[in-house]
Symmetry: C2
């Protein structure tokens, strides 16, 4: 129950004012329930001027921007193995895993040099959307934007699922609850982002560096043991994937490309730094560039190291045991220290994967708001919420990712084929845009830049095609249908927004100087003759219209007659009461017809006064029809028909207890 | 997509009017989608004066009112057997089924004579609610009303479930679909009632008389075969209920009473005629009385006959085979004619059971509307819908019964314990009310009347207690908790309604003669300077207020400054534009504060003008926030704050294609 809106003291004489005037003090209304819930859940609201960006030093920046990219090493090698081993068995380990990894690291190198160019050219915001829009135009930018948005959704789904996999590799008992746990992670991250978790170094630094350190220790120890020959084979886990047996003939190029495409997930997230250049300390672009180099080096070394160890150990993944967890077990051994190290690796892996999802929660709402600013997404996505974040974008992302997690039962392997097509599409468009820019501006060193970005565009374009073709039947087809459909949708949205703006802004000057209408007619809708109607009549008179009439839409003849009698008895005959017969009980239509007559002349503004009772508690309102609202909605369809709600607040007229008591007794006496 | 509200022709000169006046012809708006859907589903709307009652002759009246009562013979005997056989085995058939049936028929006789009194005393409407209210008061009437309403819901659930049981006894393949089929029946009946199926003799006559004829033929043949000794034992069906074996010791009185209570379902529906006396041809009460006698005779004979045959045949029900179906099979034999007869009996049984549910669909909405008229139920239940029926009552009943069917998986045996407590409670209250009436009025023959109704009250009171106690643990406890809770709820509702009416009607005369407020201040909310704002300013001027100001709530400083510049540029400086800083982006609260200042003096009516865009299609509206509506809702909490929506209709300003084209090119040129 909400508080009564105003309490009006009874007058000293003991007689209450019939329609009391509130006291002259400023009116302090309590906050709405919605607001109180928000405050409780999200903390106090932030003011717009509190919008600011932390400036990050290089070590912190690495922690903030690298989690998405680095975390993908947790599953990239495994996804390569999952393609190869069922087809060619252990031959995969001896001949293919490492070369494919090297090829993907080569793509990484090309990407890094391409993005070095972008960072310098767009020091304020160099995401694929901005770069494409600036160089190739609005329409290609929508392709890049939509492709990236779908990939951000997939990043959240894949990362939380992989994080949960790291968890149940350590604690298999949690396996049956994987979907629920993944949804819980998404909910917590979404909640944190709605509260406005800043891309704050503190939160990110610990898991990122814990992951880096534990991976490097694991890889280092592993390589040493491999070189010294103390590293055996990993035992085959229970429930492992199928392993092709016997002699393998020619290994198809398609299979290798498919494995390569599956490893492509490793380089997603590389674009994060180019999105966030303004967050670096000065000189921003230079710091951003060296951080990019550092991140890429870590990523490359880790990816190569993990693939090397997986190849040595012949780690075959199972549903419940990841490749990383098998490597950790094998490298650290069975001793107590080994056990501790194993759990540390699993915990760090889980944490960085969950943080990677968090990166998408920063990027998706921002990109969506860019597109919405350009009128290519619903405008609601541009609105900053209670805590200055793009709340609608956060909620959209969380819901979409949750749907994916439920649909794919938090299974990374089934999500992977949908992944990476979008990222590589946006890589390609962004590099092509950069190439176009070099050609257009011809700044110093443009020839090298064109070579790098042109080469980058070709390389990422080829990878895009490889990913699309080799994963087509596994699920990539869905993204390849979805993205064009979404692009068509956002283009349609854009046309609608543009048409609306064009109309609203058309010849405003002439309109502003135009004449007002000659007549002003006021229609008061009367249901009963009670205080709410009296309030409306009182207000109607202050409007001093050219015409004032009260209209009762009659669905019951006897009630209408009684009303007319009372009308005269109360001396209201100055205002004419019109009784409109409404035999089909369609009040909206009847009122619409009455108002339509008045506005049809084209020279009359009509004010339709709807008395509306304001209840003190929500359940009180539920006890009544919402007729007033329905009538208002219907009448609003007419031009120059202005609907006014005249409120009557329950509780504003104090009724003596005796009156209520007398009424009650009268009611219980009926029939005797 | 809905049609554009108005089409405004461009003027002959080719230049469109900026804010065009619509043509002077009456405005023909298309019907709303909601209305069109209703028309398609339910047929054209009925006018209030089409509300009329058919007058029924006795044969038709029997068909109309008897289906509920007669149909219960389809399961009453079976429910007695289901209590006894698992406890005492075949001893039930030889010693108990028939005596218990006879006892229940005795209750029926008492009821019939009691209701003869009621019919004469209340020829206009003699339902338990009216009789109790008239003689015992409003509060006991609520107990009777709520008890009856719960029983009407149960009647629908039990009857459709039993109808489905009749169906799958004939076609066992339908057993797995029983819940879906039952829900389908409920939906069809609800739809028919929303269309306004009259209690029309034609629809009812065929199934009722088919049922009567087939039952009498079956019972007649069965009795003849039993007397001639050609009736054996029915074979035990597959999956039959447990049968107690061996010597049975003392048979507990509780068990017998429990069986008796389960048979109580047979006499539900007897009150139907007393509800519908005005539907009879004149002299109504006399015709109603003789129809009641006829119905009770049929019911008694059928109940006795079926119990007799069940006792002879030792019919043990199973989940998939009802007692009635076993009797039909046994009596009609295995020949081709027997098969046909069997299917006829099953079809007639199914049809009359479904019709019995239909009776509740007539009674529940009517009773609920009586209670709502007395302000003891939500007022929405008094509203006659599209086709003059109480649509809200019909929908409430259908939804409640559907929930029960789903919860109890359309199983009659599990629903039965909840049943009958309510009916017998209302019987008792209604008879007690009649007894009180005889004492009060002392009309000729009141002593005999008192004896009959007093005896009836005692008898039905005893049965109520028996039913409540013996079925308590089987589910009756739920009803015995539910009914008092619901009574408490409706009493609370009543107090709220009464308090509201008391306030609204308090000293209306004085209020009507009260003064209007001295000042009238108009606040136009300005988001942008576009045609919708211009419309609002234009309307504001026609109001000729004492004060007129435009308010912009600023969440973005640069936009606010641009607006202020444009304001002056357009020569709008006659109206002062106030810029209200809103750093926390809580528009509603900011507007509330602005308006609150104005109304706090207590001498000012404030009109808050909210420009509101009216879109041409629903999806257009979804592309925008509903800020206008949220602000309106917030401001309505203040006294004397009258919110006016000033509509701007998209499509009312024709924009030349060149303008749109130019805008589009401008947009795509950005960045180059």
């Amino acid at each position: 129950m909400t508080e009564p809106p105003i309490t009006t003291p009874t007058r000293p004489g003991g007689i209450a004012a019939p329609v009391p005037f509130p006291p002259s003090a400023p009116i302090a209304l309590p906050e709405s329930r919605r607001y109180r819930v928000k405050n409780r859940l999200l903390g106090p609201p932030l003011n717009t001027d509190q919008l600011e960006h932390e400036r990050l030093g290089k070590p912190t920046a690495l922690a903030v921007f690298a989690s998405d990219a680095l975390s993908s090493t947790a599953y990239a090698t495994e996804e390569i193995i999952r393609v190869l081993v069922p087809a060619i068995g252990f031959l995969a380990f001896s001949a293919y895993v490492l070369p494919i990894t090297v090829a993907m690291v080569a793509v990484l190198v090309i990407l890094v040099f391409s993005y070095r160019q972008t960072i310098k050219a767009y020091p304020s915001a160099g995401g694929a959307y901005i770069v494409t829009k600036d160089n190739l135009g609005l329409l290609p930018a929508q392709v890049a934007g939509v492709a990236l948005l779908t990939d951000y959704i997939l990043t959240v789904a894949v990362s939380t699922s992989a994080g949960v996999a790291a968890m149940y590799s350590a604690f298999p008992v949690l396996f049956p609850y994987r979907v629920v746990v993944a949804l819980f992670f998404i909910a917590v991250i979404a909640w944190g982002n709605l509260r406005g978790v800043k891309e704050s170094g503190r939160i990110f630094a610990i898991p990122t560096y814990a992951f880096l350190v534990s991976m490097f220790v694991m890889i280092g120890m592993g390589v040493v043991r491999a070189v010294t020959g103390t590293l055996g084979r990993a035992p085959l886990p229970e429930g492992h994937i199928a392993i092709a047996q016997g002699q393998i003939g020619a290994v198809g190029i398609f299979l290798v490309l498919h494995a390569f495409a599956s490893g492509g997930a490793a380089v997603t997230g590389v674009e994060a730094i180019s999105n966030g250049v303004p967050a670096f300390k000065k000189p921003e672009w230079r710091n951003a560039r060296s951080t990019l180099m550092l991140m890429a080096s870590c990523l490359g070394v880790m990816f190569l190291g993990i693939s090397f160890l997986a190849a040595k150990l012949h780690t075959v993944p199972s549903e419940r045991s990841t490749v990383i967890s098998q490597i950790a077990r094998a490298v650290f051994g069975d001793g107590p220290a080994g056990h501790v190290a194993f759990y540390v690796v699993q915990a760090a892996t889980m944490l960085i994967l969950v943080l990677a999802a968090n990166t998408s929660f920063a990027d998706f709402p921002r990109l969506a708001s860019f597109q919405a600013d350009d009128s290519f997404m619903p405008k609601q996505l541009t609105k900053r919420g209670h805590r200055l974040v793009f709340s609608n974008g956060i909620i959209s992302l969380a819901v979409s990712a949750a749907v994916l997690v439920v649909f794919f039962k938090a299974d990374v392997t089934h999500l992977i084929p949908l992944y990476a097509v979008g990222v590589f599409t946006s890589f390609t468009l962004s590099q092509a845009g950069m190439a176009r820019r070099h050609l257009r501006l011809r700044e110093p060193g443009w020839r090298l830049g064109l070579l790098i970005n042109g080469g980058g565009a070709v390389a990422t374009g080829v990878v895009t095609v490889v990913v699309a073709v080799t994963k087509f039947t596994h699920g990539a087809w869905f993204i390849m249908v979805l993205v064009p459909v979404l692009v068509a949708v956002v283009v349609r949205l854009n046309r609608q927004y543009e048409a609306e703006s064009a109309e609203l802004e058309y010849e405003v000057v002439a309109a502003a100087k135009g004449p007002t209408l000659r007549r002003h007619s006021v229609i008061v809708l009367v249901e009963k003759l009670d205080l709410s109607t009296v309030r409306a009549l009182q207000y109607a008179r202050t409007l001093s219209p050219t015409e004032l009439r009260a209209v009762h839409v009659a669905t019951d003849h006897s009630r209408a007659e009684a009303l007319a009698d009372e009308w005269h008895r109360l001396g209201l005959s100055r205002i004419s009461l019109e009784i409109v017969d409404c035999p089909d009980r369609r009040l909206e239509r009847a009122v619409l017809d009455v108002v339509s007559e008045d506005v049809s002349s084209g020279t009359t503004e009509v004010s339709v006064l709807v008395p509306r009772r304001e209840y003190r508690a929500h359940w009180h309102r539920l006890l009544h029809d919402r007729t007033a609202d329905r009538i208002a909605r219907a009448v609003a369809r007419l031009p120059h028909a202005n609907v006014t709600f005249v409120p009557y607040h329950f509780g504003s007229t104090p009724v003596p207890d005796e009156v209520i008591q007398a009424r009650r007794e009268a009611a219980h006496d009926t029939g005797h």
